[in-house]
Subunit: 295 residues, 2 copies
C-alpha cells in the first residue's frame, strides 16, 4: 500500500475509535464536525513526512509509524479547527470548504478540536498495543511538540503577546509539528529521533515561510482560504517583514538547510528528492516567483 | 503524605512539565492562564476518588496512581475552561474568581484548555516511565472517558443537539470522568477496572444531579459561580425535570446505588464513609433540604 493510502486508512481507524463507528450513542453533530475536520484532507504533508522518515530509517515498526502519522495529522487538524475560530482567524473557509465553525457552529468547533487532540493520543496508544514499551517515548516526542513551552499551542499563544521574534514564532507554530513528524518517524522506523530533529525544524520553518508567501501572492482559488489574512490580522509574517522577494530567498535557504540536515541513511536520496519537489509545489515558479520578480 | 498533598504536588509536577518551569521561551499569558485554570483548585474530588480507589485496591503503584489522578484533574480543568467560554456558558466566574477567558481573554482560554488536555496525556506518560507496559491500558481508560462516543466531550456536545435523554447526558457529561477515576485508580492500585466502573458512573451521575440542585438552590457566594445558569441556558437539569424535591430523592437514590456498587475489598468501608460524608457536603441539610421542604 502506498503512503497516502496508509495514511487515509489510519485516519479512518482513528475516527472509528472516536465515534464508535456510527454508534447511535454518539452526538451526531460532533461526529459530523470531527469527520469534516479530517476529510477530505489537504496535502497530508505531515503524516507523509513521518512515514517517509520511518521508511528511510528501515521501517522497523510500520504499525507504530502509521499510528504516529495519523496522530500527528489529527493534531494538525485540531489546530486548524481552533485557529479558524472567530476569536482567532475567524476564517469562513478551509481547504476550499466551510471551516468547522462555519458549518457546525462555534461550540462544535471547540469540541471537535478537543476531541481530535484526545483522539490523537488514543490512536498512539492503540497503535502501540503490540509494543507498549515503545509508547512513553513516542508520546513524549508528540506531546512536547504540541504543548508548552514551545509546541504548536505555544506558537499560537505567541499571537496573544505584544511581541515575538519571527523565527521563534514560526519554529513553534509550524516547525515543532514537523519536528515531531521526523522524530516520531525515526522512533517508529528504528532511527534516533535526535538525529532527525534539525531536518524537521528546518523544513517546518520553510513551510511557514511558504505559507506567508502564498498568503500574499496567491489567489483565493489556489489557497482554498481567504487571502491576505496575515496582514489583516497583524500576524507576524516573513512576507511582511522581508518583502515578497526577501521571503522567497529565505524560503530557498531554509529548504537547502533542511536538505543538508538529512542524516546519512539508506533513504536519504529519496528524502532529498521529496523536499526538492515540494519546493515547486509550495512556491511555484509561474505564479509566485515571476510575480515577485515583476513587483 | 496525605491524598490532597499528593494531588497538589502531582499537579505542580505536571505544570512544570508543561511550562518548562518558568522557561523564558514559554508564552507568558498562556502559562499564566494554565496556572489560573488549575490553582487554586476546587474540592479535587476526582483525583481524590482515584487515589481512594487505588488505596482500596492495595496501592500497587502509587506513582502511576498520582499521575492518573493529576491527569484526570487536568482534564476536568480543561473541560471547565472550555465550558465557561462565551459560546457555551459565558461564565464570568469559576470557583469564586474570574474564569480563564474573563481574566485572560477568549483566545488564551481556548489554548489553555487545549494545553491542559495535552498535558494530561504527557503526565500519564511521565508517570508510567518506570512501568511502560501499564501505559496503553491506562491511556485507554482515560481517553475513552473523555472522547467520543460517550466521554465528557460527548456530554458537552449533547448540549448542541435538539434533544437528549437526561440520564445519557449526565452519564456522559459527569459520570464518565468519575468512572475514569475509579477505573484508573483500580488499574494503578492493582484491582480490576471493570469491577469499579458501576461505582464511578453512579457517583458521577449523583454529582451532576447535586450540581443541578445546587444551581437552583444555593446562593452565588456558596457556588462560586452564577446561580440559575441551567435554567437560563435551557440546559437539561434534574432540578428542572423533577423539581427540587424530586431531584433530592433522585440524588439520595443514586448515592445509595453508588455505595452498593463498591466492590468487596479491604478499603470498602473507608470508601462508603467518604461517599456518605460527601452527601452532606453536596446537598446540605440546612441550606438545601430544608429549603425544598419549605417550598
Amino acid at each position: 500500500m502506498d503512503a497516502l493510502n496508509r495514511i487515509e486508512q489510519a485516519l479512518e481507524t482513528a475516527l472509528a475509535l472516536g465515534t464508535g463507528d456510527g454508534n447511535p450513542g454518539c452526538p451526531p453533530k460532533l461526529a459530523a464536525g470531527l469527520r469534516h475536520a479530517v476529510f477530505p484532507g489537504g496535502a497530508r504533508i505531515r503524516p507523509q513526512l513521518c512515514l517517509a522518515v520511518a521508511r528511510a530509517c528501515g521501517d522497523a515498526d510500520p504499525r507504530l509509524a502509521d499510528g504516529a502519522a495519523a496522530a500527528l495529522e489529527l493534531l494538525h487538524c485540531a489546530s486548524l479547527v481552533h485557529d479558524d475560530l472567530p476569536c482567532f482567524d475567524d476564517a469562513p473557509l478551509r481547504r476550499g470548504i466551510p471551516s468547522v465553525h462555519a458549518a457546525y457552529g462555534e461550540r462544535i468547533a471547540v469540541l471537535a478540536g478537543d476531541a481530535l487532540i484526545v483522539l490523537a493520543f488514543q490512536m498512539l496508544a492503540h497503535s502501540a498495543l503490540h509494543a507498549p514499551a515503545r509508547l512513553p517515548g513516542l508520546m513524549g516526542i508528540v506531546a512536547r511538540r504540541v504543548a508548552l513551552p514551545s509546541g504548536i499551542i505555544a506558537g499560537q499563544a505567541w499571537e496573544c503577546e505584544p511581541y515575538v521574534a519571527l523565527p521563534a514564532y514560526q519554529r513553534a507554530k509550524t516547525g515543532s509539528l514537523f519536528a515531531a513528524c521526523t522524530e516520531a518517524g525515526a522512533w517508529a522506523g528504528g532511527g534516533d529521533p535526535a538525529d532527525w530533529q534539525p531536518f524537521g525544524l528546518c523544513l517546518g520553518e520553510a513551510y511557514q515561510v511558504a505559507d506567508d508567501i502564498r498568503d500574499v501572492a496567491l489567489a483565493v482559488e489556489l489557497l482554498g482560504k481567504p487571502q491576505g489574512r496575515d496582514v489583516a490580522l497583524c500576524r507576524p509574517s516573513a512576507a511582511t517583514e522581508m518583502g515578497l522577494s526577501g521571503a522567497i530567498v529565505h524560503f530557498d535557504a531554509l529548504l537547502e538547510r533542511a536538505v543538508d540536515a538529512i542524516p546519512a541513511c539508506t533513504g536519504a536520496a529519496m528524502l532529498r528528492a521529496i523536499v526538492r519537489s515540494e519546493s515547486e509545489r509550495l512556491v511555484p515558479q509561474a505564479t509566485v516567483r515571476d510575480l515577485a520578480l515583476a513587483a
